[in-house]
Symmetry: C2
Subunit: 440 residues, 2 copies
């Protein structure tokens, strides 16, 4: 697999570029906006994730010899366009919501400005990254709310495409998970990694006791033993006998979890292992986590549901041209007219309006295409939501790598703390904040 | 991003390896099996996809200096395990269902044989690839059935993680789609690429007519024009006026598609453009495609629903130890006992039993761990489903690259043609074939 990202692109972007280079519109200044028309599944808020990854991928968005050869051999664009692409790198500006920020219908999550040629080719990559990562982060935030102070680990790599799994671990971490099982996510993004043992470990050995003895010998009594391969009560008894009452933890991966957790806690306490922690991991989602709130569970491991967005695997964001230069160099706000997909043309500035400690409104001011002079000072109780991410093609390095990921996680916690408590309910409803558009 | 795939792995696989190297069980011969306990969502059959990708990724499954440094710095495994990993490459055997084959609950989709050390570390990567790709292929096959002879294009890259999008394009192609919008899928897997134009193309221009004129000038009258940016009837009129009655196609991306398709067809015919094709693309899934069967639609473009498995984004396959050597070198069939997740231990051989032209049963014969002598000759009306994929660490190159992808697509068509016609209904029901386990 190549690291080049330029062909992670829908063909029509390059054929539009080809046609625009011929008729001169390729050089028109454009503003594209990435936003969601709605929140899926009656969610109350969305969580922006993927921004830091997108900025990294953008650095590799170049058309090298291999990419150009493919485009030439397949006759996708003509020679003039090939020559343009050979020199292409994004030279425009991108501003947007900080990674980890909440978003609502119509929030201008990213604003991409440049020539049509600069900006049109980023559509697919930007949407792939933001739609996937934001879907995971949005689901993960709900699980994090449901788990309260109890730690959550993401363990769903096996239920997601192998590279999306790494992105999902990162998105879940930003939205409040504490660790991941995915080693590449640890290496690339600095996320703490964790793990216990699989049923195969017990089955590999002649009996459960030998398996537990070997695991404790290798990893210490602080390890977590998987106790449900055969019979849970016998598994717990064996685990404490082998590791002693200082056993770090047991994991339960099947059965009726509230009942199991209570029984295992009572058994552990009776065996003197009152400090041994109980981790549960069987097909949890935000609702199952919430249903375990009163159970003696110490930690949750979540797989399928978090990496697949808990029923909503894509955030459904779109990338739309909202303003462009006209032939005389002035700005024109533009938008599609079809009713169901109508979107607001014009360049946006966005603010989270607060009353006291709580967010009450998503305020989006709209201008034609002129860069707005609107700022938070005009809205004293509001927080400006957009920050510069890329300026003249150069990404702000604060958003990249492990540091950017940690900072997105911290920002998410701050932004979520502004929501009124009823916005954190898991039930389906309207967006927690109304989005108000204000024409300037 | 690195091309190395060895850290696309859950941490517990390496800590189990670490413990197994210490107690000697790492060298026990093991048989792991990758299978699905059930088909999601009342589906009648599953489609195996990802095999060829997995074999490619396996070649890069090596622990280089960077990977080893991470594992050492994070103290994930000890020095002896690091040294083992430095020399690791998979040296075992993998057999399995041909890519594109159908599968049913309990079908032994992959069988991985080697030492515990060889095989345990492949769990996450194998599941990530097969679960994602098979989920997409299973949904895509249903869309392909619903579309009948009409061509289907995959256009969902923007709704999937950027690398999963490439894999999704490939899986959809295997299951019957004819093309993809994703250029990287064209380059890497030889899949035909296609595209039309976005609303941004029309909005970039001073009016719809200028946009259409430029597109036709650049791409010829055979191009497909997107006619729903403003008013569809006016869009169609302008399109034919600009391109002439030889216009290749129009695309409709919004509105009530059956009504729109009929109106646009009538308008095109009245304008003399009876050869102009109608492509529809608005949030289609297998049900929407089926509902358009009687409408004058010439081609479908499918996005979100195919790349997200149409409601089931992961196939839910698992990777389980089913047999291992005991201390004296004999084979022991093993399985987890917990009721809800019980699975059949033992090595499996699998056959599709047919009566006349039609498949009637998924026959799975079970031995302890001995390599079965069972073959199709014992089942004269049956087709053996497993083929060697990797022998002593070497992948069969017939399954790799563009050639392997084309061959998987052809095999899928053959396998699907064996199903009785009622198995192709979209309605929820039981698996089309019963899986029968036979202890040998």
């Amino acid at each position: 697999m190549t690291a080049a990202t330029a062909l992670l692109t829908d063909r029509y972007e390059l054929t539009m570029l080809d046609a625009a280079l011929k008729d001169g519109t390729a050089q028109r200044r454009c503003v594209f906006e990435l936003f969601a028309r709605r929140l899926p599944g009656g969610r109350r808020y969305g969580v922006v994730a993927g921004t830091g990854r997108l900025l990294s991928l953008l650095r590799d968005f170049r058309f090298g010899d291999d990419e150009l050869r493919f485009l030439r051999d397949e006759r996708i664009v003509d020679a003039a366009t090939l020559s343009f692409l050979a020199g292409y790198r994004f030279r425009g500006d991108i501003s947007g919501y900080r990674e980890g920020e909440l978003y609502f219908p119509g929030s201008p999550v990213l604003t991409v400005e440049g020539t049509f040629a600069d900006a049109v080719v980023l559509e697919t990559l930007a949407l792939s990254v933001l739609n996937h990562d934001s879907a995971v982060a949005t689901a993960a935030a709900r699980m994090s709310v449901a788990a309260g102070e109890r730690p959550l680990a993401e363990m769903g790599s096996r239920r997601a495409g192998e590279r999306s799994a790494v992105a999902a671990a990162r998105a879940a971490y930003i939205a409040g998970f504490g660790a991941t099982s995915n080693l590449e996510a640890g290496r690339t993004w600095g996320i703490p990694t964790m793990g216990t043992a699989a049923h195969a470990w017990t089955l590999l050995h002649d009996d459960e006791e030998s398996a537990f003895r070997s695991q404790v010998a290798a990893l210490g009594a602080g390890t977590t033993l998987l106790v449900d391969t055969y019979d849970i009560a016998r598994g717990v008894e064996t685990a404490v006998r082998v590791a002693g009452p200082g056993l770090g933890g047991v994991r339960i991966d099947s059965g009726d979890l509230p009942a199991m957790a209570a029984a295992v806690r009572a058994q552990l306490d009776a065996l003197g292992a009152s400090g041994t922690r109980i981790t549960v991991t069987s097909d949890l989602d935000e609702y199952a986590i919430a249903a375990l709130a009163a159970s003696p569970v110490d930690a949750y491991g979540v797989g399928t549901s978090v990496v697949t967005g808990s029923g909503h695997p894509t955030a459904g964001m779109v990338y739309k041209l909202v303003a462009r230069e006209d032939a005389s160099g002035g700005w024109v706000a533009v938008s599609k007219a079809s009713a169901a997909k109508a979107s607001a043309g014009g360049r946006k500035a966005a603010f989270r309006v607060r009353e006291g400690a709580h967010a009450v409104q998503e305020l989006v001011t709209v201008s034609d295409g002129t860069r707005s002079r609107d700022d938070a000072s005009r809205h004293p109780d509001a927080r400006a939501l957009q920050v510069p991410l890329v300026v003249a093609g150069e990404a702000d390095s604060a958003h990249l790598g492990a540091e950017g990921t940690r900072s997105a996680r911290a920002h998410h916690a701050t932004a979520r703390a502004e929501l009124p408590v009823q916005a954190l309910a898991l039930s389906k409803s309207d967006p927690a904040l109304p989005t108000v558009f204000l024409e300037r």
